[in-house]
């Protein structure tokens, strides 16, 4: 008797196992549960948003390519718009604009401190020009004016450490 005949009755009986089925609809939601658990346990879900974005773009090259093209297009458009704005402006007008060079007032011109060691001599006739830079020695000169140290209160030099004590 061959093995197939010997066990034919058993094999017929074992067919009964194929009829054991889980509740109807069980497999419809099975993969959803698996995927939910995978997403919950995935380190990507715990990482920051930019890591998540990078991971999602990494797996979708077409989407990443689309975003790149869109960004490049916006850059090109922006560059073109800025060029067209520049070409519309009249040449040589930059220097007469007030925010490029401010003309000093009369009080500022005469406020130059000639007694300071860092004072720069300026021709008063030039001070009225908007092209010539206005240099005043009053405020910024104080920062480097060592001659005033010691003459004014609060600017006393600290005594230097002349001896060292080691314990």
């Amino acid at each position: 008797m061959s093995a197939s005949n010997e066990f034919s009755q058993l094999q017929k009986l074992l067919k009964l196992k194929r009829h054991e089925q889980p509740a109807h609809g069980y497999f419809i939601h099975f993969s959803d549960k698996v995927m939910a658990r995978i997403e919950a346990e995935s380190p990507v879900s715990r990482s920051s948003w930019w890591q998540w974005l990078w991971a999602s773009l990494d797996t979708k090259p077409l989407v990443a390519c689309g975003y790149t093209c869109m960004a490049a297009g916006l850059l090109v458009i922006g560059f073109g718009v800025s060029r067209s704005i520049e070409s519309d402006e009249p040449t040589g007008s930059a220097l007469v604009r007030p925010w490029y060079a401010a003309s000093p007032t009369a009080s500022q011109s005469f406020a130059l401190d000639h007694s300071s060691s860092t004072a720069l001599a300026l021709d008063r006739s030039d001070a009225a020009s908007s092209v010539t830079p206005v240099i005043s020695s009053s405020a910024p000169g104080f920062l480097f004016d060592v001659s005033r140290v010691g003459r004014e209160p609060g600017l006393q030099p600290k005594p230097e450490l002349t001896s060292y004590h080691f314990r």
Binding site: A3, E6, F7, Q9, L10, Q11, K12, L13, L14, K15, L16, K17, R18, H19, E20, Q21, P22, A23, F27, F30, S31, K33, V34, M35, R37, I38, E39, E41, V44, A55, D58, T59, K60
Partner: protein, 208 residues
């Protein structure tokens, strides 16, 4: 998996479910983190994996947990999948290992929680012929037979129950079982023969 599909194709190959190329493509995408591709792989193999685990444990809740754990473990280990075997074989191996480890832990607390028989069981000619002489009420006979059958399977060792499940219940070939169990076909055949002998002895009252 519907019983109709099982009856028509008791030994479906993975290629029947999804072509090798599409499976490779899905696996490749899933390895790169594409969850939609992995979801598709889960849908392709969920019934087979669940069924294998269920027939090993004879418990629906355990089978549910183990089948889910199998797919999660497979996803986490997907980077290490070299493609030496098919994805189908690889996932089956994970399921089998998980199930056997689980069964070792619960050795002393076997508890059957059987799924219901579907409607087609009552119309299966072979089953009807088996029970008609013994039980005048067919429905009761099937339920009783189901319990006896599962109890007999639980008496087998894990390895022998596995080989019976994969071959006689799920219809896998000796070669496929050899790949899953990591042994040659000769070993599969000898294990199958021994397991059938054991089952025949346990169920002698129902097979005369």
């Amino acid at each position: 998996m519907s019983s109709t599909a099982l009856d028509k194709a008791p030994a479906p190959s993975p290629a029947a479910v999804a072509s090798a190329q599409s499976e490779q493509s899905l696996v490749h995408r899933a390895r790169n983190g594409d969850l939609e591709a992995y979801d598709e792989l889960v849908r392709i193999y969920q019934e087979r994996i669940y069924s294998a685990v269920y027939h090993m444990t004879a418990n629906h809740d355990d089978a549910n947990d183990l089948a889910q754990d199998t797919f999660i473990k497979a996803y986490q280990a997907l980077k290490s999948f070299k493609g030496d075997s098919s994805f189908f074989t690889w996932v089956y191996r994970i399921a089998v290992n998980k199930t056997i480890n689980f069964l070792k832990q619960r050795r002393n607390r076997m508890h059957m929680s059987l799924n219901d028989l579907d409607f087609n069981a009552e119309h299966d000619a072979d089953l009807v012929a088996l029970i008609s002489e013994r039980t005048p009420r067919r429905e009761v006979g099937l339920s009783e037979l189901q319990e006896k059958l599962n109890a007999a399977m639980l008496k087998l060792s894990d390895i022998h129950r596995l080989v019976i499940t994969l071959h006689d219940v799920q219809g896998l070939s000796h070669e496929e079982i050899g790949k899953i169990m990591d042994c040659n076909t000769g070993t599969v055949r000898s294990r199958l023969f021994y397991a059938r002998q054991q089952m025949q002895a346990y169920l002698s009252d129902y097979l005369k």
